[in-house]
């Protein structure tokens, strides 16, 4: 009955500056990076959710998140902290799309 707190979890937030928001290119980059981690990773446009599976292109694109949105990440799993850090860094460097 005590298992839950044993799993590491992490949260963090970052504002999307990319001109067109979470469209195909940035969404693909986000899911590709998320899949390199074992943790369950989700994001939402508000701390209250609704939460979106960051490893699913259908869900990420389906969120239709516009530019200027503050993305809240949360991850559960052994590499949760590294995952949240990496995803925030991806958004911060504009999905590697900025020249």
């Amino acid at each position: 009955m005590d298992a839950a707190p044993m799993t590491p979890s992490a949260t963090g937030s970052v504002r999307i500056e990319h001109e067109i928001g979470l469209h195909a290119r940035p969404s693909v980059k986000l899911t590709q990076l998320a899949k390199t981690f074992d943790s369950k990773i989700e994001f939402a446009a508000s701390p209250e959710g609704p939460w979106v599976d960051a490893k699913s292109i259908v869900k990420v694109m389906g969120s239709k998140t516009p530019q200027g949105t503050v993305l809240h990440f949360r991850a559960h799993g052994q590499d949760a902290t590294a995952a949240v850090q990496a995803l925030i860094a991806l958004v911060e460097r504009d999905f590697e799309l900025a020249s």
């Binding site: 290119r25 899911t31 590709q32 599976d53 869900k59 694109m61």
Partner: protein, 546 residues
Amino acid sequence: MNKGDNTPLPAGEGLGVREATTMLRLVGTPASPGLACGPIFRLDPVERGARGLASSGEEREAIAAAMESAQRALAELSARAADEEAAAILAFQLALLEDEEITGPTCASIDAGAPADSAWRQVMDALIGDYETAEDPYFRGRAADLRDLRDRVLDALVGGAEHSIPPGAIVLAEDLAPSRFLAADWGDGGLVLQRGGTTGHVAILARSRGVPMLVGVDLSSIAPCDEALLDAHEGSLVLGPDAPSRHDFERRRALHAERARADALHLDAEASMANGERVQVLINVARPEELSGIDPEHVDGIGLVRTEFLFHARDQLPDEEEQYRVYRYIAKWAAGRPVTIRTLDAGGDKPIPGFTRAEESNPFLGVRGVRLSLRRPEVLMVQLRALARAAVHGNVKVMVPMVTLPDELAQCRVLLAQAVRELLASGVQAALPPLGMMVEVPAAALSMEAFDADFYSIGSNDLLQYLMAASRDEPELAALASPGPAFWRLLREMAQHGRSARREVSLCGDLASDARYVPQLLRCGLRALSVAPASLASVKAAVRRS
């Protein structure tokens, strides 16, 4: 491979024999310039068979194999894709194939007794429906990528539809999916579509790969023939050409090839005339996506951004925030170079349902351009606010279309100043951009000094047809609708006014994109030309030869 490909259409009466088929010339709109000659390949939509149901285990294996084969094909295309536009489409499709949100429901449906093809189709169609009905035109555009992926997997499952495009063919089709375009080995071939536009995905891909392409060609009643000549400079398709037209075509092709090789050398150089005088060569942009394949270093700015794309194919007009983001994106792309954004030019040949007048007897002479904007100030105001906000991020200039009388421009100036005032008063960053006018009505062209404009841009398409009273869409009147002495005289006077009033006068109509007219435009005194991106190299080269 399958018989449906080259559907021979019934030949005209008495023309049963192939040799007797007469040469047929069709016209269309060039979407990507170039010349091609080759065997015709008709790509018609194929009826797919349905799959017989096997055990759910076998169906799961079948869908897994089909998805794997689609994945291999896409990965291979992706490895060959040279530009960002193509890479993004393919990466998106590859990501979808790996998504459990798609594989999960498909397998669940198979386990519940559905055949693999209908399970896959059902899941994809639901997703496609979501995208097709999205409010954002960007998402509606992605529906084509999803349909394309659906069909690719279905082809692998059911077979029969895998008609690969033979290399070097002139492909005639109603429409073509981007990934089909990317899969083909175009060689010296070309593409002719019945539907599709010059700013669609495939058109952008064709231009970046140099594949000649025409759109808007009526392919409904063509007779069978083996060969075609495609001229995507002048916009013609000749089916079953005779020897003289073939000969003429070869001559033109050699000429163009030589010219293109020479032109390409001028792309990254500034355009100066033989006497050293500098000429600004800017580009016309109809959709921001077009910018992805262009190096800002190659242009002197953007001489015309058409904003109609923001208003088309949607249920509600775009709000200030959406417009602001697009304008800012374009302004930032130009990195300090001038970006002239035209306020909504609806009406005439650009109707917008729910905005333009529905039943005008003569829309070209009706309530269009600024005439409509001033009657719907609430719509214009949203655009002016978005433009004033974008002006903070770059060298934005605002241009008003169809101005006929000075008061129309004066009213726009008042509204623009009001927009800036209101934004600043509510703490929003804004700047007052220069306000200029498009000169396309002869009355305005003949009285330019009466207008309080910061700059002028000549809209040669409309100016010419209003001056000559001849529609540019009427093939029979082509000779009337081309520039003659009256037109050149008007141009000279406008350029002269610009010089004496120290106001920039540029030209942004189709005329500037046609290298043949460049020397005459320069002789009239014009020193700023805004051209189609595909014509950048040829226009710069023409300037340097002048």
